[in-house]
């Protein structure tokens, strides 16, 4: 299947005559990004950096579908990032993506405001962070986009099943020579929509926790072993989150809170768990991740139950999925090749599952700072609802960190 995907990617390249375009583009690139700037006064420091990325998207549509509006260039990132430290104990970060703010996008994978938090590191037992940013949940979500060969994460990890960012308070602590870490958080629970202001009428919060273990040393949130480590390294992550929201009769969630599949925030109890494993050795790296949510709507005749009785369903439905990814960093060629399989289910009470296979190839002009990436996603099967109207999606573009 992976080889077929690669062949298809090559065929599309030829069809679009992008190979000439790409090689011409590459031949023009002789510089590398090294532009981060830091200002400081010996006590405080502030680093200014950012990311620019643009891709071309091309879709092969299902038979009978004619809307080709997704065949277009897209400015994915126009980010400015300010990271600061005051003295020994205070840190802060503000990261804004102007591309998404301009579009008014609330895409949880690629939001306008990405980080706005302050952190205090002066306590003995844990560090405290307050503000808006990534929730310690899902290795894929926590891995910065620029360190991936892909243009898009696995579908169920993009933020439509569970939020990736929220406003709240978290504490974190690493121990066992940084091989283990624990994060606990409390958030509004509406995810990226929390930025609009008010909570929903339930007034409930969401509680999260994540424990990571690694051997033989700490395992950073990276997908690619560009260092070709000479000892095998492995990292394990266990995540959980819980919320119980009970809307008064006649009340609704803010627009967009439930997201694309309508399950991100539900009127009811939501318990989620996640397990992820990552390993790397000599340029080969692999990731596995599983997410499952038990959703228990308050309304026993909710449409989520698809007409089944509460005796049949136990009063809940399951959403989630798993993904496995294998990568290889070819150092002499400055190339990354990767393949990823994913399967997910929006609602286990509905027949069918979704399966996708993606392959990616990236050429590193200057490591991850300046990189040309191409991704092909092939839809193998789809559930009856929310089925995409395309079978294959190809993206190629350039990411540049300054």
């Amino acid at each position: 299947m992976g080889i077929n995907c690669m062949f298809l990617m090559i065929q599309i390249l030829i069809k679009m005559r992008i190979n000439r375009f790409l090689l011409s583009l590459l031949s023009l690139i002789s510089f590398a990004s090294k532009a981060q700037v830091t200002i400081g006064n010996g006590e405080n420091s502030l680093e200014i950096s950012g990311v620019l990325s643009t891709y071309y998207n091309y879709r092969i549509l299902e038979n009978g579908v004619n809307e080709k509006d997704k065949n277009r260039f897209n400015l994915r990132d126009a980010q400015i990032q300010l990271e600061g430290r005051e003295g020994k104990n205070w840190e802060y970060k503000l990261q804004i993506d102007f591309a998404d703010i301009t579009q008014g996008s609330s895409d949880p994978e690629n939001p306008g405001l990405m980080d706005a938090w302050i952190q205090y590191k002066g306590l003995k037992w844990f560090d405290v962070r307050i503000g808006y940013g990534k929730i310690a949940w899902s290795r894929s979500s926590l891995t910065p986009f620029i360190y991936s060969a892909y243009w898009q994460r696995a579908e169920f990890l993009r933020g439509s099943f569970n939020s990736r960012r929220d406003i709240g308070l978290s504490i974190s602590k690493s121990f066992w020579k940084q091989r283990a870490s624990l994060d606990l958080g409390v958030y509004t629970g509406l995810g990226e929509i929390s930025l609009k202001g008010d909570n929903d009428a339930s007034g409930a919060l969401e509680y999260t926790g994540r424990l990571t273990l690694a051997w033989p040393t700490q395992f950073r949130n990276r997908e690619i072993d560009d260092r070709h480590v000479r000892k095998p390294m492995i990292g394990l992550g266990l995540s959980a989150r819980y919320t119980n929201r009970e809307l008064p009769i006649g009340a609704f969630f803010p627009a967009g809170a439930a997201s694309e599949y309508g399950i991100k925030v539900i009127n009811g109890e939501k318990r989620s768990i996640g397990i992820d494993v990552a390993a790397q050795w000599q340029g080969i790296s692999a990731q596995f991740e599983l997410i499952q949510s038990q959703n228990s709507p308050q309304d026993s005749v909710s449409s989520f139950f698809q007409g089944f009785t509460s005796q049949q369903t136990g009063g809940y439905f399951i959403s989630g999925g798993w993904t496995g990814q294998l990568n290889y960093h070819i150092k002499p060629l400055k190339l990354i090749v990767s393949g990823r399989y994913e399967t997910y289910n929006v609602n286990d009470l509905l027949q069918g599952e979704n399966e996708r296979f993606s392959s990616a190839i990236a050429y590193q002009i200057n490591g991850f700072q300046s990189m040309i990436k191409a991704q092909l996603t092939h839809v193998i099967t789809s559930e009856k609802i929310n089925a995409p109207d395309w079978t294959d999606q190809f993206r190629i573009g350039w990411q540049y960190q300054f």
Binding site: T38, I39, G40, S49, R227
Partner: protein
């Protein structure tokens, strides 16, 4: 087409093959995130700095003899002579000079540098011509030459792959350590080029020093370990 591909893929390749060095001994450190190491002038103790803002004097197996909180975090380089220990803080671009005898702060010098916050000074050593050599880690790798008063007298860009996470002067030669490649480089400081490469079986090596008997010491930041190797000159 072949020329284009050659240009694209081979720009930063190094001709020499790295020689693999076996570990002679290793010791677990109780020091959190050790980021550089220096040998005392008499060769009887080590100075180790850590990311959590402390300077340690240890025995030759890395057991702490005494320590001082240096009030800065992200200390990334250390150098010792007969009287003083010098500690470099990457983010604030400060060099702090401590008395070995009293183990207290003597003075603080700021070396302005506006590159990336975490891509700044990680290596400090002194040449046989009594010049300080201060390296930035990467993007780009600059070697600042400073006089004895820590005034910048020259700046040279090293066009080598990877990063420079530590530097030391040994047997009239400059030795550099690359954390990213897990390699030690014997270099020619005048032509700022690599003469020999040595591959280390160490995760995240961040500090390098040589004992008077020629044995090479490497500290691993993530691994919290001190490694001992034979003198690479023997290879």
């Amino acid at each position: 087409m072949r020329l284009l591909i050659a240009c694209l893929f081979c720009g930063n390749m190094i001709a020499q093959t790295a020689i693999k060095l076996p570990v002679l001994e290793s010791y677990s450190l109780s020091i959190s995130e050790p980021s550089d190491i220096a040998v005392s002038k008499d060769g009887k103790s080590l100075f180790i700095v850590s990311d959590d803002g402390a300077l340690y004097e240890t025995d030759l197996k890395g057991n702490s003899i005494r320590s001082i909180t240096i009030g800065i975090i992200d200390a990334e380089a250390v150098y010792a002579d007969g009287e003083y220990v010098y500690v470099v803080e990457e983010r604030t671009r400060l060099i702090k000079q401590y008395s070995i005898k009293e183990f207290n702060l003597i003075r603080t010098i700021e070396i302005p540098y506006q590159g990336g916050r975490n891509k700044s000074f990680e290596s400090l050593t002194k040449s046989s011509e009594n010049e300080w050599l201060l390296f930035t880690e990467r993007d780009p790798i600059w070697m600042f030459q400073l006089n004895s008063s820590f005034e910048i007298i020259n700046r040279i860009k090293w066009d080598v792959p990877g990063d420079v996470s530590a530097a030391t002067w040994h047997k009239e030669k400059l030795w550099l350590l690359s954390d990213e490649l897990a390699e030690v480089w014997l270099t020619d400081v005048k032509s700022h080029s690599i003469l020999k490469r040595f591959k280390l079986p160490v995760l995240n090596p961040e500090g390098i020093a040589f004992l008077p008997n020629g044995k090479m010491l490497i500290v691993s930041d993530d691994g919290h370990k001190l490694y001992v190797f034979d003198d690479p000159n023997l290879n």
